[in-house]
């Protein structure tokens, strides 16, 4: 019926609307509006809250995964940084050592080669070592070999076997090493013998020579291999040589050869 009279229907709706508008400030109309608002909005707020919770849960999981990935990345980065730091420290030590050696070399008036020790077997500590220079670097046998350790420079041995690219150094601590030495300031000469320990023996010191513990032993001018005046060691003890008119002294080498990584060759 109402379809045939839409105008009446509209009029009805308009009257209701006008009535609502007229009583809009009426508390009962306002209460009805609030009630309808509550009825409609409350399921929505629950849905919205559920959607929000699901979203938050999803975000939390995503954040956890992201954080885990970040931790893994940071760990890897940290590992890499630690490795780099270690490399840098090694390079720093190496750089410092090489700088010291180069600075020392600049002060030397003689022509000096620097060689790297490539073999230092533990059982050969006091006998010999192998360096990475040979005939190709113009090295020859019986050349003096020096070391630099903790701001001290001194003799450590001589070349005995020179091949194309490597050479063997006979250390002064080797039992077969015999080099002439001089005690200063007394100025007396003797023969320095190796005994394959961390000390040398200086023999054939005149019995009346005025020497004492702590005196420095240097190379003697009697040597045709080592130039005179190069430090060899320090006297640590003095003893009599039986009934002969000589005495001997125990000498601690200035340079501990087994501690070196590079040597100087004259």
């Amino acid at each position: 019926m109402y379809k045939k009279n839409p105008t009446i229907l509209l009029s009805f709706y308009l009257i209701i609307s006008i009535l609502i508008l007229s009583f809009n400030v009426n508390p009962s109309i306002k209460a009805a509006r609030d009630f309808l608002f509550y009825v409609i909005i409350s399921p929505y707020s629950k849905i919205d809250s559920a959607i929000f919770s699901v979203n938050r849960f999803g975000n939390n999981i995503k954040e956890l995964v992201d954080a885990h990935q970040q931790i893994l990345d940071l760990k890897n980065e940290n590992k890499q940084l630690l490795t780099d730091l270690l490399k840098l420290k090694i390079l720093e030590v190496e750089n410092k050592r090489l700088t010291e050696i180069l600075n020392y070399k600049k002060n030397l008036k003689r022509k000096i080669n620097i060689a790297r020790i490539i073999a230092k077997p533990s059982q050969q500590y006091y006998k010999s070592l192998i360096i990475d220079k040979g005939i190709d670097d113009n090295l020859k046998e019986n050349r003096a070999v020096y070391g630099y350790y903790k701001n001290h420079f001194g003799i450590i041995g001589q070349l005995i076997d020179v091949s194309k690219n490597t050479s063997q150094v006979l250390l002064i601590t080797n039992r077969i090493s015999k080099i002439p030495g001089r005690i200063i300031p007394a100025g007396v000469d003797g023969i320095i013998l190796g005994n394959e320990t961390n000390e040398l023996e200086m023999a054939w010191i005149p019995i009346d020579a005025e020497i004492k513990i702590g005196d420095e032993v240097v190379s003697s001018s009697a040597s045709d291999i080592f130039p005179s005046g190069i430090p060899i060691g320090i006297i640590v003890s003095i003893s009599q040589s039986g009934h002969l008119p000589f005495k001997s002294a125990q000498v601690k080498p200035t340079i501990p050869a087994f501690q070196l990584t590079d040597v100087f060759i004259e």
Binding site: P6, L10, S17, L21, F37, I40, Y44
Partner: protein, 155 residues
């Protein structure tokens, strides 16, 4: 009964989409115009009244303004001459555009009469929706055909 349920579901969906996505404020009016065009002025004004009443609960306007203006828009669209082709996208856009303006004008006048507030007829960004009216009409048609066998024009 099925139709009442259809309209109830449709109005609920439109109202909730309006709450969820505040950008769809014109959706209700487009639906009223669609119903008015296809189902006549009686159905158009009825749907307009109830949708306006429900929409008024959430709208910032005075309660009763939207039910009045939507009912009038639904009625007027149902009274449009039969020669106007409701399937023509351009016609749809123009009718909805005029309907929106008309509805706003009624609302402003009613606000002035009953509350004394001087409203301004603003054409905001929501008018972009008008461009997509053919798309909404297609969706509404599909929605109708999901419930009923056919959609006949009864104006």
């Amino acid at each position: 009964m099925k139709k009442i349920f259809f309209y109830f579901v449709s109005i609920s969906v439109i109202i909730f989409s309006g709450i969820l996505f505040s950008n769809t404020s014109l959706l209700g009016l487009i639906f009223i115009i669609f119903i008015g065009l296809y189902r006549g002025s009686a159905t158009g004004s009825t749907i307009g009244f109830f949708l306006g009443l429900t929409d008024g609960i959430f709208a910032s306007s005075t309660f009763g303004v939207l039910s009045f203006s939507y009912a009038v828009v639904g009625y007027v669209t149902g009274r449009l001459p039969g020669r106007i082709d409701e399937e023509n996208p351009l016609a749809q856009i123009i009718i909805v555009f005029i309907g929106v303006i008309f509805s706003k004008l009624i609302s402003i006048i009613l606000e002035m009469i009953f509350t004394g507030n001087k409203g301004i007829l603003g054409i905001g960004w929501e008018f972009i929706f008008v461009i997509f009216v053919p798309l909404f009409f297609t969706i509404f048609k599909k929605w109708w055909l999901l419930w009923f066998e056919k959609l006949t024009v009864e104006r």
